[in-house]
Each structure stands twice: as C-alpha cells, then as structure tokens.
C-alpha cells in the first residue's frame, strides 16, 4: 500500500507527459495467469502477445462504438511486471490526447469479453480486468426438473409392482377359497355317516381299523 502511494507521488511530475500510469482514473489493470489456465501448453508472454492484446482491445472498442475506428496505437500499455500484469489506457481515435472514460471502456470489454478470452485461450478468471467483474452465465433450467422424472419412473415401477402383488395374492386366495369349497362339497356329496368325513376314494370309513383318531373306537 505504502509502496503504491510512493510510486504515485514519484510519477506525479511525469503525469504531464505519460497518460498511462497505475491508479489513473482512466486506466485499467490487467492480470494474466497463463500457466494456471493452460499448464503444460502455456505459451510465453512476449511483445507479440502484447500486440495481440492491444489489437483485441481495439477490436472490442470498435465493436462497441460503431463507426469510431480505434487502432492499436490508441491502446497504451505501461507497468508490465513479470507476473504478467499491466495497466492500459485508451485514447480517442480523433484526438490522441483525450482518454476514454472508464465506463465506456468497461462496457466495450464486457460486450466482447468472450472474444477477448478466446483470443488468448483464457477464461474470465485467468484474464482478469481488475474492477470489471465477470458476467455470470445464466443457469440452464430444464422445463421439468430432472429429479421429478427419475422420481416418476421409480414410483411408477413401484406402484405397478404393488398392484401386481396385491392382485396376485387376491387371485391366489380366491383360488384357495374355491378349492376349499369344492373339496367341502365333494365330502358332503360322498355322504357323512356317524358324523365322519369320507376320504376321496369313496365309501364309508371303517373306524374299527383307524388308529390315533379322536373318536371312541367301536
């Protein structure tokens, strides 16, 4: 903090000559993190890349201000650090001593942010314009939330299963009931004497030769 203030004080005499200085009301700070974004495939930041940056800025301003022909010479860069951070100011194409207001520059950058990022294979987080927050992408909301679809599938399967099981047990119990009444009818028809039921072979069951029965043997 102290550093920056000292730096500014030293630069004040130079203000008259240089329009681009850190902390200027017309300047933006840019911070680039190539290694973070690209890892092994990181390219080296050199003057050519800086030229591309200035060209991209000019493009952004041209797209925003339809008609005004910005050139690379209108973008002035200063204070480059090994971090790869620097400050830049934009001058008007008609009058090179007039600097563009921050608001105009910001809107231009915002409009073409994706294109600028694409030129450097970077993202909003790795190509930072300090004080310009990245625009947030609107989340894609499907018409039916996907969880309801899965829920519907599961409930449908479970419901079908429950109905199937209930119906099958109803059918089974009805069959058992029918079989029972059928057997009872058959026994009735064979005739019951002495209160004894007959077996399926027909005839009267002779209790004399039965064993383990509950009735008094004859």
């Amino acid at each position: 903090m102290l550093e920056k203030v000292l730096f500014l004080l030293c630069l004040t005499p130079a203000l008259a000559q240089e329009p681009c200085f850190p902390g200027s009301s017309h300047a933006y700070k840019v911070r680039i993190s190539i290694k973070t974004a690209l890892g092994n495939q990181a390219y080296v930041w050199n003057d050519n890349e800086m030229y591309l940056f200035r060209a991209a800025m000019a493009f952004a301003l041209r797209s925003y201000h339809n008609g005004q022909e910005f050139n690379v010479s209108n973008i002035m860069v200063c204070n480059e650090t090994p971090r790869v951070s620097f400050w830049f100011v934009v001058s008007s194409p008609e009058n090179s001593s007039v600097l563009l207001k921050k608001g105009d520059v910001e809107n231009a950058i915002r409009k073409s942010r994706n294109r600028i990022n694409g030129a450097f294979l970077l993202t909003d987080q790795t190509l930072e314009f300090i004080d310009i927050p990245p625009t947030l992408a609107a989340p894609v909301m499907p018409v039916t939330p996907p969880w309801l679809i899965v829920f519907g599938v599961v409930m449908g399967a479970v419901g079908a299963g429950i109905i199937f099981l209930l119906v099958s047990s109803l059918v089974q119990s009805k069959r058992k009931k029918n079989k029972k009444t059928l057997d009872e009818d058959r026994e009735d028809m064979r005739g019951i004497e002495n209160g004894l039921g007959c077996d399926n072979l027909g005839g009267v069951y002779n209790t004399t030769f039965s064993d383990g029965d509950k009735f008094t043997p004859m």
Binding site: M1, P139, P146, V150, I162, L165, S169, S173
Partner: protein, 620 residues
C-alpha cells in the same frame, strides 16, 4: 462357581412346544408359518439388518477419533464379549420357541410380555426416522442424474448479479443440504410448513419398503439378494476408485495410525460397546423373528459367529473406503487453500507464475517476510493457514458425512454423476435392508398380540403399518424436521434398547433357565454351548450392557439439552449455532425413551392386576 439362580416359573412347559413337538413340526413342514427358501436368504437378511448406515458413518468417525488403529482393540474385545453372545442368544431363543418377539417373551413368562411390546415400540419409532433418512438419500439419488451435480454450484440470486448470499457465505454443498433439501428453519419451535418435495420422497421410500415387505419374508427374502450384496460391490468399487485418487493413502494412514494412550480413556471403551450393541440391531425383535423361520436343527451358533465377524469386517472395510475418500477431499482442500495463498502472494508482489509452488512455499514465504515492506504486505493479505491434519480431522459423522463431506468429495472426482448414483444406491440398500428387520419387528408382534383379526392378510397389516408410520413421519418433512430427527435418534434408539437387551438376557438366563436353554441348544445343534457362552450369558454380557446403560443414562441426564441449528442470520454463520431445547421437549423425550422402557414393568403390573381380578372373580 456356577450361578444356579433360577426364578420360579410355573407353567412354562405348557406355554412352549416341547422337543417332540418341534420334531413333529419339522416333519410336517407346517404351512402356516413362513420359511426361508434357503440358508443364504436367512444369512443375507440378518447381515442386511445388522449392517446399516451406522457402519458407514458412525464407526469410521469413532475409529478415527478414539485412537485410530488402537480402537480395534476395544472394538474386537466387545464384539467377542458382548455382541456375538447376545446375537447367539437371540438366534437360539427365536429358533427354539419359533415365534415373534412378543410371543416368545409371553411364552417364557406372561409377565414378560412388556419386553416384547417395548421392542415393538422401539422398532416402530426407529423405523419412522430411519426411513426418513432413506427418503433424503433418495432425494440425492434423484438429483444425481444430471451433470454438473446440483450441489456443486451456487444458484444465482434474483437479479442475476451474483450468487445467493446464503450460499456464498457458506458453500454450495451446505446450501443444497440445508436450504434446497431440508429448507431448515432456525429453531425447532418454528415448524414451518410441509415441504412437498420431501413428502414425495418420503412417500416413495415407504412405497418401496412396502413392496419389499408386502408378504413378509416371502418378498423380503427375494429383495435381500440385491439389497444386502450391492453395498459390498459398491464399497469395493469405491475402494478401487479411492485408492487411485491423490491423497487417499494419507486418509487411510490417518485413520489407522494407532494412538494407544487413548485406550486409557473409559469413554473409548463405552463408545465401542455402544457401537457394537447398536450395530448388531439387538433388542429390536427382528432377529428373534427371523430365526423363528429357520428349521429346528439349524446351527445358530455358527450363524451368530459368522454374522458377527461379517459385521465387524464390514465396519472396518467401510471405514477404509470412507477415509480414503476423506483423505482425497482433505488433500484437495489443502491444495486449494495453498494455491489461494500462492495466488495472493504472486498478485501482491507481482512475481511471475511458477516462482512460488507448493514445494517451495514455506521458504519463499520466509524470504518475502524477511523484508519489512514484504512483512507489512503479507500482514495485510490475511493468508489462511493450511494444515492437512486439520482438514483430515474435520471429523464428521452421521448425515453430515454422507450429505456434506462425501458429496463434496464426489463433485471433485471425474464423472461425478456416476459416483453419486453408486454412493446413494449403496446408502439406500444399506438403509432398506435394516428397515426390513424393523418392519418385521413391528408387524409380527402385532400379529401375535391379535390386535387385528386373524383373517387379516399380511399385505393389509404391512400396509397399515407403513401407512401409519408414513403419516406420523410427516413431522420430519416440516422445516424443522431435521431437529426432530436428531431428537428421535438420540432418545428413541438409545436407552430403551439397552434396557430391553438387559431384560432379555436376565430373562433367558434366570427365568427361562440356563440349564433348560443349554438342553434346547443341545437338541437343536447337537452339542451343549461351551463354558465361554455360559459365562457370557450369565455374567459378562449383562454386566457390560448394564455398565453401558448406566453411563449412557448418566450422560444423557446430565447433558444440557442443546441442539445445533443452521441460522443464516446468526453472527457466526456458517458455523452451526448451539441452542437449548424448549421446555416442551421434555415431554417428547419422555414419550420416546420413557414410554417403551416403562412398558416393561407396566405390562407386568397389568398382568398381575388382571390375574388378581380373575382369581377374585373365580372365587366370587
């Protein structure tokens, strides 16, 4: 010195089938009592009942916080001296008397019917809140079929200028759990309304449970082939995946590094005992019921030992998997923390990228600190201290582990939806197979108590139980539902179970008679239980359960009744706020813990009263 205490128990022989009756029943293959299709079904059902969510989210936390690898010593000790004997006892008594829990205790002595009824009540209460956890698991499962996972990003606020404030201040994982899933209120007093999405998930959970339990073990026996085996498959997959992730071995090392000094602390032994006890799902009545469907000469001693060992091994296996994932997560958090610091330093000093890396961070920091201007800059930066140990010991248990820690770790893995689906299917199966035992512990006693007419089909009875539980469990779908669930978990499933288990052991050892029990086991499996089992049943296991009960009771009674709440308006947000319960919670606690426990003496007194009245009426 043998303890030959045996309390008088007239009429026991009339109430229970004799050995000859059992042989006849075996030959006849009585059709009115359900049977297992094969031994595998029985073992899988018991393993499924015992192995539950606690093995995944309680044991790893206990293991790590109570001495790491050294925790195995008390755990194994209590497994052998408390868990397996109790398991053997429940299996043997169920197989011998061939009835559900209420009928078994009534047959031993009519005054003991309260033990069975208390088991039924506890099974009912625990079943209600346990299935709600399954409903939460299903909610996360339904949301796992999208990429990116919904809990990996914060939603935007209304005017699309930034993220929702609550989410930004905490994290997307916390926000999804506390706001979008639970929509939790600030205190338990503010009940809020029913959350329709939770009601749908709860209905789905009970419907799935109903379809699996609709005909008793006829249907659960088929379901367990999947619900009991799938968790092991998924755990193995996660272990292999976890070991390939960076940092997982640190997690496993952290878990198992023994700290033998911790064993001096008695609470380690008590927690181990409690964990073994609850992990085996004893005293719910479900195990007695499941064993009663076995053939008479089934080797229940072997079963008890096998299931005990499987349960113990599953706990250790699950702990390994969980901590490999926690190790990965902690390493990721550590790296993120470190990289943030590095970025701040690079930006502040305008150094080129790559000058400060993870390896030379410390020495670079020292070098930058050595100049006065550097020191001042660094002070102004507010760097956070990054310590891997801190991230690893961010020990979470319970729902926090599953829905916050693990879900966060999953978002960092490639192909997250797949891991999420697998993880929640595993939790679902673990919970569902435990619910089978709980439902069995409610439905069969209801049949024994003859509350419903005998002609009532099993489908209708299960349906009534599921519907009733669903309607009462709607309380957990309120905005304050999570606080109610924690209340149920702390009181319904803790103290009453210990009392019931203690009563079970004393009943079998001293009222049924250990001699008779030994002869029964000799009849069933061919040899008498040896001196080890005798000592356990008569003395050691009841003593251990008694000690744990006293400890638990004293802790609960002395503890300040507080709970933690999620309050976005609190000063320390996102740290959870500690609040005290309101006064009416005492009534709820009494209903949850007091009523089942008091049923045991209550029903005994009621029976006594009935007999006295009857006798008086007879003599009038």
């Amino acid at each position: 010195m043998k303890l030959k205490i045996r309390l008088p128990n007239p009429g026991l022989d009339d109430r229970i089938p004799s050995h000859k009756d059992l042989e006849d029943m075996e030959k006849q293959e009585a059709a009115d009592r359900p049977q297992w299709d094969n031994k595998a079904q029985y073992l899988l059902t018991c393993v499924g009942f015992c192995v539950g969510l606690g093995n995944v989210w309680r044991f790893p936390y206990l293991c790590q916080s109570h001495g790491g690898g050294a925790f195995m010593i008390p755990f194994l000790f209590l497994l052998i001296f408390e868990g397996i004997p109790l398991l053997y006892l429940e299996f043997a008594i169920g197989q011998r008397l061939r009835k559900g829990s209420v009928a078994v205790w009534t047959a031993i002595n009519p005054y003991l019917a309260g033990v069975g009824i208390a088991s039924m009540c506890v099974s009912f209460l625990v079943g209600m809140y346990y299935n709600t956890i399954i409903a939460w698991v299903m909610w996360y499962f339904f949301h796992s079929f999208q990429s990116p996972l919904p809990w990996s990003q914060c939603p935007l606020n209304d005017n699309r200028t930034g993220l929702v404030s609550e989410c930004k201040r905490s994290s997307s994982i916390d926000y999804f759990w506390y706001r979008e899933t639970l929509n939790t209120s600030e205190t338990i007093d503010v009940s809020g309304g029913l959350q329709w999405w939770m009601v749908l998930c709860l209905f789905c959970a009970w419907a799935v449970l109903y379809i699996c339990c609709i005909r008793g073990i006829e249907t659960t026996g088929k379901a367990v082939y999947i619900t009991s085996t799938l968790p092991y498959v998924v755990l193995t997959i996660f272990l292999i995946r976890g070991l390939t992730l960076k940092g997982s071995v640190d997690g496993i090392k952290f878990l198992f590094t023994p700290r033998v000094k911790e064993l001096m602390n008695p609470s380690v032994w008590l927690d181990a005992g409690a964990q073994v006890f609850y992990s085996f799902s004893l005293a719910f009545g479900g195990l007695i019921s499941f064993s009663s469907y076995n053939p008479v000469h089934n080797n229940c001693e072997q079963d008890a030992v096998i299931i005990g060992i499987i349960n113990g091994c599953t706990s250790v296996f699950a702990a390994t998997v969980v901590y490999s994932i926690i190790g990965f997560r902690a390493t990721e958090q550590f790296n993120t923390c470190l990289n943030e610091n590095i970025l701040m330093l690079l930006n502040a000093f305008d150094l080129a990228e790559g000058t400060i890396t993870e390896t030379n961070y410390d020495e670079m920091l020292r070098m930058l600190n050595s100049t006065t201007s550097g020191f001042d800059t660094i002070q102004g930066l507010d760097l956070s201290t990054c310590n891997l140990e801190t991230f690893l010991s961010d020990g979470v248990e319970g729902t926090g582990l599953a829905f916050i820690v693990f879900t966060e770790a999953i978002t960092k893995m490639p192909v997250s939806p797949l891991w999420s689906v697998l993880f929640f299917i595993m939790l679902f199966c673990l919970g569902l197979s435990t619910m089978f035992g709980a439902i069995e512990g409610v439905v069969v006693p209801l049949q024994d108590l003859k509350i419903f007419p005998k002609k009532c089909p099993k489908e209708a009875l299960s349906g009534i139980v599921c519907l009733l539980s669903f309607m009462i469990a709607l309380i957990f779908c309120l905005r304050s539902g999570n606080y109610w669930l924690v209340l149920f978990d702390s009181y319904a499933g803790s103290v009453p179970l210990l009392i019931i288990a203690f009563c079970e052991m004393t009943a079998v050892a001293y009222i049924y008679g250990i001699d008779r029990f030994n002869k029964d086991i000799e009849f069933m499996i061919g040899h008498k239980p040896n001196i080890f089992w005798q000592a356990m049943w008569r003395l050691v296991s009841p003593l251990i359960v008694f000690v744990i009960f006293v400890f638990y009771f004293i802790t609960k009674v002395n503890a300040e009744l507080t709970y933690i709440s999620w309050n976005p308006n609190s000063a320390n947000f996102p740290i959870l706020e500690i609040l005290t319960y309101p006064k009416w919670v005492y009534i709820v606690i009494f209903i949850l813990a007091g009523v089942p426990s008091l049923l045991i003496p209550g029903v005994a007194l009621f029976q006594l009263f009935q007999r006295c009245c009857c006798k008086r009426n007879m003599y009038k």
